[in-house]
């Protein structure tokens, strides 16, 4: 796929058919931990969109302009992690300083996702699939939105489930994982609509 259509395909497949959370099961710990309330999970989801988009772009630049010329491709794991961590930390500090409402809505979640495996996963997948700069950008933002939708759906379900009777042994993480599995099955319905590598 060439040009614009290729970018759009990557964007939508990252959201639906190749949803990073529901097909790769990455980023589970914050997905399970912070999906009790819709409002909270929206903040976290927004933070994930922002961080995934910016770090995929940033890591693309670091990889192709620093690591490749120096033959340091093998160090990509370490370098990506520290780039993500440093970047997120600084963004958090800036948001905290300049705007309290924005910090309360978004910034507070940043430390929770610095070491989220979905963030690193996006940076690594874009290399495996040999995306260009623009493709990486769309892949990052698409994956972020996909993660956002997944946690939002989960939070909605869990919020409605508060009053339901759940067998004692399944309360908490147990039932949440089962729901996540069913959601993953539902998302499988999208597969075949779009295909990326």
């Amino acid at each position: 796929m060439e040009g614009m259509t290729g970018l759009i395909a990557i964007f939508f497949s990252a959201i639906f058919t190749n949803n990073i959370l529901l097909t790769n099961y990455l980023g589970m710990c914050s997905f399970l931990g912070v999906s009790k309330e819709v409002k909270t999970s929206m903040g976290l989801g927004a933070a994930v969109i922002f961080v995934m988009t910016t770090t995929s772009v940033l890591n693309w630049l670091v990889y192709y302009h620093i690591l490749v010329p120096l033959n340091l491709e093998n160090f990509r794991f370490i370098v990506f992690i520290i780039v993500i961590a440093a970047f997120v930390q600084i963004v958090e500090m800036i948001i905290e300083r300049v705007s309290e409402p924005l910090y309360n809505a978004l910034g507070i979640f940043l430390p929770l996702i610095t070491v989220n495996c979905a963030i690193l996963g996006v940076s690594l997948f874009m290399l495996i699939r040999e995306y260009t700069f623009a493709e990486s950008f769309f892949y990052g933002i698409g994956s972020g939105i996909g993660w956002f939708l997944a946690i939002l759906a989960m939070a909605g379900i869990r919020q409605n489930m508060k009053r339901s009777k759940i067998p004692k042994g399944l309360e908490g993480a147990g039932i949440t994982l089962i729901i996540a599995g069913i959601m993953a099955l539902a998302f499988m319905g999208f597969s075949g609509v779009l295909n990326i590598q």
Binding site: G33, V34, K36, E37, K39, T40, G43, I66, L70, N71, L72, F75, I78, V79, I82, V83, A86, Q89, I90, M93, I94, E96, R97, E100, N104, A105, I108, F109, L112
Partner: protein, 368 residues
């Protein structure tokens, strides 16, 4: 090959250094909130710190330890404390852990809340004083055939502040009965004014991990780790008449409370019922007699439930509840301090209530 190595190492160091420098620069400019003061429990303790860090971390640096299981990631909800001033709005990461009541009560999750200005916080008072102490055993004396008095000298830190009646946990290291250190609570029988030594009464429980260790393995000169103080079993601030009831090693906190009353010259009327099986289970009789002379109005009434023939016992006999029942009239304006087995305490509470004592006037420490 060699050049490649140098380039790799150099480049990695370069990248890390650049990032680190950026971080340091950001930390000291954007992340700098100046010096702040955290005042705990209306100024009982104050911590001076650099602003910008989570409250939990700031408290930890000030040597105040709030329990937390997840290490500050906002996923366990344990590190709650009340923040009276200096905090902004409740953050969305705290919401899942706070009930409506707690929100109204200004309870916050201390790992999420950052200290950016002077703060007024309230935590459980006992958390303020809980420490771990390295101690040396300086005394291990038989009080009866199965109760030993254990005296520990504090080494690091070398002083302790506590209220008469509180307890500490002592650590039993691994030995033949246990594969991992276990902690058991023991009331201190010493007087709080002696800040360098604490004293406990340990009764040998068959197959008890900690008691067997203290009785059969511990020697004078050994090192022992304890943490504390804990507990709210202590003398109230009233001048009501006191009924004290204890059995066996339940003597410990009451001894501490009574000795403290003598030292502070507290003039409350007190009657102390002490239950034991036979004469060989009685101890500290001379000390109690001395207290009867020294205290304003104090009576010690030991009672034996199964006196032996050669005990030649002329004092009270019967279950401690029967003795209390015989010796008391209307208790509606008295307070009770109980320490002993759960069975004994539950039975005593029934008797005390029969005599008109309101339940809120009954204080107890149950040791199973």
């Amino acid at each position: 090959m060699f050049l490649g190595l140098v380039v790799s190492v150099g480049a990695m160091c370069g990248i890390s250094t650049v990032l680190a420098l950026i971080m340091v620069a950001a930390e000291s400019t954007i992340g700098n909130y100046g010096d702040v003061k955290v005042s705990i429990n209306d100024g009982e303790k104050e911590i001076d710190a650099r602003g910008g860090k989570p409250l939990l971390t700031t408290l930890k640096e000030g040597k105040v330890f709030i329990p937390s299981a997840c290490g500050g990631r906002g996923s366990c909800g344990l590190c709650k404390c009340k923040v009276k001033s200096g905090a902004g709005e409740v953050l969305p990461t705290e919401l899942p852990w706070l009930s409506d009541e707690e929100r109204k009560d200004h309870v916050r999750l201390s790992c999420q809340l950052k200290v950016k200005a002077d703060m007024d916080v309230e935590i459980e008072p006992e958390l303020l004083y809980v420490r771990e102490f390295r101690t040396t055993v300086v005394g291990l004396d038989d009080l009866t055939h199965d109760i030993k008095q254990l005296t520990l000298k504090l080494e690091e830190p070398d002083t302790i502040d506590y209220k008469a009646g509180q307890f500490v946990q002592i650590e039993t290291p691994e030995y033949e009965l246990t594969d991992e250190p276990v902690y058991r609570a023991y009331s201190m029988s010493s007087v709080p004014s002696n800040k360098h030594e604490i004293e406990m009464e340990v009764r040998l429980v068959p197959d008890g991990i900690c008691t067997t260790y203290v009785h059969n393995h511990l020697k004078v000169g050994d090192t022992m780790t304890v943490n504390g103080p804990y507990g709210d079993f202590k003398l109230s601030n009233t001048d009501k008449d006191m009924i004290c009831i204890a059995g066996g090693s339940g003597m410990a906190p009451l001894k501490s409370i009574l000795y403290n009353m003598r030292e502070k010259d507290i003039k409350r009327k007190a009657t102390y019922f002490f239950g034991a099986k036979s004469k060989r289970d009685l101890f500290l009789l001379d000390e109690m007699k001395q207290l009867e002379k020294d205290l304003h109005d104090f009576r010690f009434i030991p009672a034996l439930s199964e006196p032996q023939d050669d005990d030649h016992w002329e004092g009270e006999t019967g279950l401690i509840t029967e003795v209390v029942d015989r010796h008391t009239d209307d208790l509606s304006n008295s307070e009770a301090y109980l320490c002993g087995s759960p069975l004994m305490i539950d039975a005593c509470i029934v008797v005390l209530k029969d005599h008109g004592m309101p339940e809120e006037n009954i204080f107890y420490d149950k040791f199973a």
